[in-house]
């Protein structure tokens, strides 16, 4: 769950791409390609996180005090279950990360998952914007490299 900062690093400065030579440009392009790859991977894992939070939230929608005392099957292993009864349907225990779990009542739990879904969605949007920016720069570099190659040939 990486938080993405949209602010530029302080040591970044503007460089006119046309003043760079071809090896420099290709190193830059390689770096950008790596970054874009990383963005794709991050997006994919954020997507998974997002759907997990959404599923949890949807599950809670069907979970209320009517469920008190209902029969359930408790999984002991992937393929073995024991029957049980639901008690204390007011509260659920949520994994908040780094092996900590907190008890929350249903409205607070719903709020938690909604907040998390929103947070993850925002991070995804940030990455998409960053990715778009990077791929624009990448395209520019490719163009300049082609231009320079043509100049060399003529």
């Amino acid at each position: 769950m990486a938080q993405i900062s949209a602010t530029e690093q302080p040591h970044m400065k503007q460089i006119d791409l046309t003043t760079l030579n071809i090896p420099q440009l290709s190193t830059l392009k390689q770096q950008l390609d790596q970054e874009l790859n990383l963005f794709q991977e991050s997006l994919a894992s954020l997507k998974i996180a997002q759907s997990k939070f959404q599923t949890s939230n949807e599950t809670l929608q069907n979970f209320d005090s009517n469920c008190e005392g209902k029969d359930i099957l408790v999984p002991l292993t992937d393929s073995m279950y024991v029957p049980g009864k639901l008690i204390d349907t007011k509260d659920v225990i949520i994994d908040i990360g780094t092996r900590y779990y907190v008890e929350k009542d249903i409205p607070a739990a719903k709020d938690y998952f909604q907040r998390k879904t929103k947070f993850v969605t925002e991070q995804m949007e940030k990455i998409q914007i960053l990715g778009l920016e990077r791929s624009k720069i990448r395209d520019a570099i490719v163009e300049i490299v082609e231009m320079k190659l043509q100049q060399q040939q003529s």
Binding site: Q3, I96, G97, R99, Y100, Y101, V102, E103
Partner: protein, 126 residues
């Protein structure tokens, strides 16, 4: 002359490669720490939102152990401090490794250039 230069170039190339490897390792450590820091900060934010008497559990292996909220907060803060220090250390390491890599790369380019010139010269004399 040519052979000597070739050996130097090869040695420099090896140096460059090992420097790149070290840098890669440092970068992946950094990413890992960064992830841990973020996760801890998210947990801290979540713990800060809770009322003081909220039940908190810590998972130790297969069981959940009840902890005091204050204790959990302290633990997470301590971990954030530690990770921040580690990050600083790795950042410094990355800067120095990048410098090392650049020196080796420059040396490589220099030798490569000399080598090419020597070859051109040899071709002219032949």
């Amino acid at each position: 002359m040519g052979e000597d230069l070739q050996r130097k170039l090869q040695a420099e190339l090896d140096n460059l490669k090992s420097a790149q490897k070290e840098l890669q390792k440092a970068i992946s450590t950094r990413q890992q720490l960064d992830g841990q820091l973020n996760e801890n900060e998210i947990v801290k934010k979540e713990l800060d939102l809770l009322p003081a008497d909220n039940k908190v559990y810590k998972s130790v292996g297969p069981v959940l152990i009840k902890t005091e909220l204050v204790e959990a907060k302290q633990n997470v803060s301590k971990r954030i401090d530690y990770i921040t220090k580690e990050l600083k250390r790795v950042d410094d390491l990355i800067v120095s490794l990048e410098k090392k890599q650049d020196t080796h790369r420059e040396a490589c380019q220099k030798f490569q250039h000399q080598y090419q010139q020597a070859q051109v010269k040899a071709a002219l004399h032949a």
